[in-house]
């Protein structure tokens, strides 16, 4: 198996996660993609999703992204999004409430840009929770 590579997940105002990993699974505008060591350089736009990172130690990190980009170079993989949160930071009830509230606005079609971002983040956060296997009640 090839060498693990460096991964960095950054949001606009902080670094969310950093470490070595052997596989990163994200959803681009074209579909899901898994990045194994030695992947060719890539710059792809993401849709709101739950990114899954398999760390070098075999652990699993799930991170909610509100869109953004994945950039792959031979040395490193970086995920950048305006807003991102770790699975451990997501509170199920809060995310669900936020989603319900924003859903109304989205449906009526007069959500601002900011509300759309929050909506996408909430969708991604709930996806993170489903991956972790504890759905909100």
């Amino acid at each position: 198996m090839a060498e693990p590579y460096q991964v960095e997940v950054v949001a606009a105002d902080r670094r969310v996660w950093e470490g070595r990993a052997v596989n990163v699974i994200v959803r681009t505008t074209e579909g899901d993609i898994g990045i194994l060591p030695g992947h060719e350089p890539l710059l792809a736009a993401l849709v709101p999703c739950a990114a899954e990172i398999v760390t070098a130690e075999g652990g699993r990190e799930v991170i909610a992204l509100d869109g953004g980009f994945v950039s792959v170079t031979p040395e490193r993989v970086s995920l950048l999004a305006q807003y991102a949160s770790l699975a451990t930071e997501v509170k199920p009830d809060q995310a669900q409430r936020e989603l319900d509230k924003l859903q109304v606005l989205m449906d009526s079609g007069d959500a601002t840009d900011e509300e759309q971002h929050r909506y996408h983040l909430a969708v991604a956060q709930l996806a993170v929770l489903r991956r972790q296997g504890n759905e909100p009640h």
């Binding site: 606009a12 710059l43 950039s71 840009d113």
Partner: protein, 303 residues
């Protein structure tokens, strides 16, 4: 005749109270700078990654995007001033406003452009309001702890103005005036052109022999660029807001430190004058008693 003892004492008390306030403000500003610097440091990785991504796209595709298009003879410009919400920060806000005025004068007189002001911070809003000038848009309430959400809001407004055709009231150029945090002692008002973007300028040329990675773009370079650039603009605004916040706090700390020092000097002077006045009163009383006694003694033998 110096002021009376009571008056001097009153003045000293009042300066002492002022000193307590300025001292407290100095300490508060000092503790907040650390937070502001941490916020700036925390945002750095994102800026770096974003910049790399933009450079990568710019290097591998022909950058031809509305946000990077230079207009040959710009008709109208927007100027974003970033000032503080509160005063008591020395010349912090006024130097930004001054730099903004110079820029406006240059754009207006030398290039004959119309200038639309965008203001962040109550100080700039107050300055323009007092002079009854037209303002395109204004924001306030976050000058000492800006978040990305606010930066995004400002950036969206600016991008919208930039993408509107000039004939319909859009702008051709956008400049930001903010304060760069150089060190605790030095903060300099800085003017940068935000739009049109100069992406290629900052790209480091690859070292000879080094091969730049041949990126694959998904879905395609144009779409990636289209989504990257607005983020890049928001990031620049966020950067300017964070720098300004740190500068504001540093200016306030310095201003309050010198106010405290001045108050201390004033207290010392007043205490001296007060002692002098008290001593003068005592001396006068003694000489009156001595004078009275000797007058009595002089008159006694004749009785």
């Amino acid at each position: 005749m110096p002021a009376s003892l009571r008056e001097l004492r009153q003045r000293r008390k009042s300066v002492q109270t002022t000193k307590k306030i300025t001292r407290a403000m100095e300490l508060i500003a000092a503790s907040r700078i650390v937070k502001a610097q941490q916020a700036a440091a925390a945002a750095a990785p994102y800026s770096r990654e974003l910049f790399r991504a933009v450079s990568a796209v710019a290097t591998f595709s022909d950058v031809d995007h509305p946000l990077t298009n230079d207009v040959e003879s710009p008709q109208r410009s927007a100027v974003l001033l970033i000032t503080s919400d509160r005063g008591l920060a020395g010349a912090y806000s006024s130097s930004v406003i001054k730099a903004g005025e110079q820029l406006t004068a240059r754009l207006h007189h030398e290039q004959g452009q119309e200038v639309l002001p965008y203001l962040a911070g109550r100080k700039a809003i107050g300055y323009y309001g007092f002079r009854k000038r037209q303002v395109a848009q204004q924001w306030d309430g976050f000058s000492d702890s800006p978040t990305y959400t606010q930066a995004r809001e400002i950036a969206d407004a600016l991008i919208e103005a930039f993408l509107t055709p000039t004939e319909e009231g859009g702008v051709d150029e956008i400049h930001i005036v903010f304060t760069r945090f150089v060190s605790m002692m030095t903060q300099t008002p800085t003017v940068v052109r935000l739009l049109p973007l100069e992406v290629v300028e900052g790209t480091e040329p690859p070292a000879p022999g080094e091969l730049l990675p041949e990126y694959e773009f998904e879905p395609d370079p144009e779409t990636v660029l289209d989504r990257l650039l607005p983020l890049y603009v928001a990031n620049r605004v966020h950067f300017a807001l964070l720098q300004s916040a740190a500068s504001e706090l540093a200016s306030r700390q310095r201003a309050m430190k010198s106010a405290t020092d001045n108050a201390q000097t004033l207290i010392e002077t007043l205490t001296r004058q007060e002692n002098q006045a008290r001593q003068a009163e005592i001396t006068q009383e003694i000489s009156e008693i001595v004078g009275g006694a000797s007058a009595l003694a002089d008159s006694a033998p004749q009785a």
